[in-house]
Symmetry: C2
Subunit: 392 residues, 2 copies
């Protein structure tokens, strides 16, 4: 058995050996801890005892592949050095780890490098991916920017890939209204691909996040983009495609979102535009729902019975009375139940709140933490109470 | 009992008394012949014996309504006079009557006035409606024109309403490739609404048809447009909407097509265009299938297993080897079965063809007539044979 620090160091070292999304590593980590897998790779042995449910040949070939890269693992001090800079390392089990990544099964990232002001787990609670063509038209750029701005203005975090075209327009739309946006890069964060987006990436870090599962200084690889797309799909409640040609990478993200049972949405465009052909194909084949704007997206991604009245313009100009990071209609039903159990005045202990909401104490604490972060509730002498400006 | 000529005269007279789509008249004509209903209207009585399945009050009110208009029925010679001009009158049971209008039940037209070179029943066998906004954008006009041209070039008759905007663009697209197009007017044919389309209407008559159920000199009425839309929906295999604002009349045609179980299609456009909002709503709500061009339309309207390879450009420029009005993939399965029973050389009698095709003699004759009109088969000394240029 190893401690949490060993676990982090081992994950970081393994991230230099295995490609992101390595399914053999993912399967091994279901049965062994990262330090054990790293030790095996550094040893002369080919098999770990206890991995009897995996094909020995597959494991052996994978370990040989990783072993060939052992020289690329930096010296022991590198993790401390990087962690001293603007980057932070988040591993499964950390408070900031977004648990929806567990939906990826063995393809779950080994770790995440983050840079930026937002909390990844919290941001992704209410998030939507906007993806599309790099060679976007003026129409697509306009629509992606509006969609990003309207959704971010309504409290949704905008997840995208930081690429030229639609991705950048969606990020910029969110930034324009002071919203939260998350760019998942296929390169390491210090490498920052595409290079021409350094300024955009710096702006994203002010209020949002840059995310990568690659070591900070690594360039992207061609298959790495597809592997990255699974994270864009998994981290958000749903994926909207704005402009995609028939062979666009954005269609891969849409497919991965569909396989993860996340709603897939597509914005139509002129049938005379090749850059909308992929969107039209998704809609025609029933693989995506047609959306024309933020209202359609919110309607699709908000659980039934929680429909909300909202006006993007009002949100954007700050005309709403409250200032939550998550609008009431879009918190999940369990959290909403906990919120209902929190009294407006006085205060109530977490055990009573848990009982009233019909959840266990751990869940109550998790929800109260999220609600506090979103400005809905606050601690007081008697426990928890609603914050004044939140109404009922 | 009355003869066929009396029946026509009575229907023509009744068309001056009842509005198109009058459901009470339709219900009465299921139990009485037109001459009897006309005689009742001209009499002092309120009820016809034998109409016991209809509410007497409803019948009485309808007859009073019609009676008030008796003075508007022209003198006995008017039908002969009109029929001597470019117009022709088609009644249920006539060879040119399109039997798919029977799907309208009691709202089936009393009669149709036609003008133009085409045979209505034959044209509508393989037809598609293209409808949309009068206030069309350049984009919509372009798309409707291309769709009309590509489909007409492939042998489809283009049905529309003869209005400004999308309707006119679809008609013109068909005319541009020498195809067949059918304009269903809400006004009488001599009145020719909209007046600004006289030249277009004259061109349509060269190869296609003008159709109306109103007496020739009557202006359109506001409800008459909606009543007319049911005919556009009923006469074609399916209806495609190209540009429609949220309250466009084209959405009414789409709804009627849906109620008649005809496929409804919609062409998307920029989400920034109000003129595409109705199309997007139809698609998003699952009331229409997204189509981007003629290929999508043909795929939707061609029975499964009869998919065809065709190239609109090849059809338009006449590069295909044969010259049928109906491509082989789009004739109905029964007719296709009859075609298969017609030998390539020699000739075969209609009774043998009927037996081989598994249909009755009447059906065989009907199909052979259609196939002959489409250039697939021809009469010979021994019965029927395929025309040389049709291959197998």
């Amino acid at each position: 058995m190893t401690g949490a620090a060993d676990d982090r160091d081992a994950r970081a070292a393994l991230s230099f050996l295995a490609e992101p999304g390595d399914l053999v590593l993912g399967a091994m980590l279901r049965q062994a801890c990262p330090a054990e897998v790293l030790a095996l790779t550094r040893s002369d042995h080919d098999l770990l005892p206890g991995l009897d449910r995996l094909d020995p040949g597959t494991v052996s070939r994978a370990v040989s592949r990783w072993r060939a890269r052992l020289a690329s693992v930096p010296s022991p001090g590198w993790l401390a050095m990087w962690a001293g800079g603007p980057l932070r390392l988040v591993c499964p089990g950390d408070p900031e780890w977004p648990t929806q990544l567990d939906d990826l099964g063995d393809a779950r990232p080994l770790l995440l490098w983050l840079r930026g002001a937002a909390d990844l787990r919290f941001a992704c609670l209410c998030s939507v991916s906007i993806v599309g063509a790099r060679a976007a038209t003026g129409y697509g750029t306009h629509v992606a920017g509006e969609l990003g701005a309207d959704l971010a203005g309504a409290g949704w975090a905008i997840v995208s890939g930081g690429a030229y075209g639609i991705d950048a327009a969606a990020h910029r739309g969110a930034l324009a209204v002071g919203g939260c946006t998350v760019a998942i890069l296929a390169s390491g964060l210090s490498f920052g691909y595409p290079r021409g987006h350094q300024e955009l990436f710096d702006m994203i870090c002010q209020t949002g996040l840059l995310v990568s599962e690659r070591p900070p200084d690594q360039a992207p690889t061609r298959p790495g983009f597809l592997v990255r797309n699974r994270m864009i799909a998994a981290l958000s409640r749903g994926t909207a495609v704005v402009e995609a040609a028939l062979r666009s990478g954005a269609l891969n993200t849409a497919r991965q979102a569909g396989e993860l049972h996340r709603p897939v949405m597509a914005v139509p465009g002129p049938v005379t535009s090749d850059q909308s052909a992929g969107c039209h194909e998704l809609i025609r084949d029933g693989r995506a729902t047609l959306v024309t704007g933020a209202c359609d997206v919110v309607e699709l991604l908000t659980p039934l019975g929680e429909a909300q009245d909202w006006d993007p313009a009002a949100n954007r100009t700050g005309r709403t009375g409250r200032d939550p990071a998550v609008p009431p209609g879009v918190i999940d039903p369990v959290t909403a139940g906990v919120l209902r159990a929190v009294p407006a005045r006085a205060g109530r202990g977490p055990a009573t709140i848990a009982t009233l909401a019909g959840v266990d104490l751990d869940t109550a604490f998790r929800c109260l933490g999220l609600l506090a972060a979103a400005g809905y509730v606050e601690r007081c002498d008697q426990g928890w109470r609603r914050r004044r400006e939140c109404g009922s």
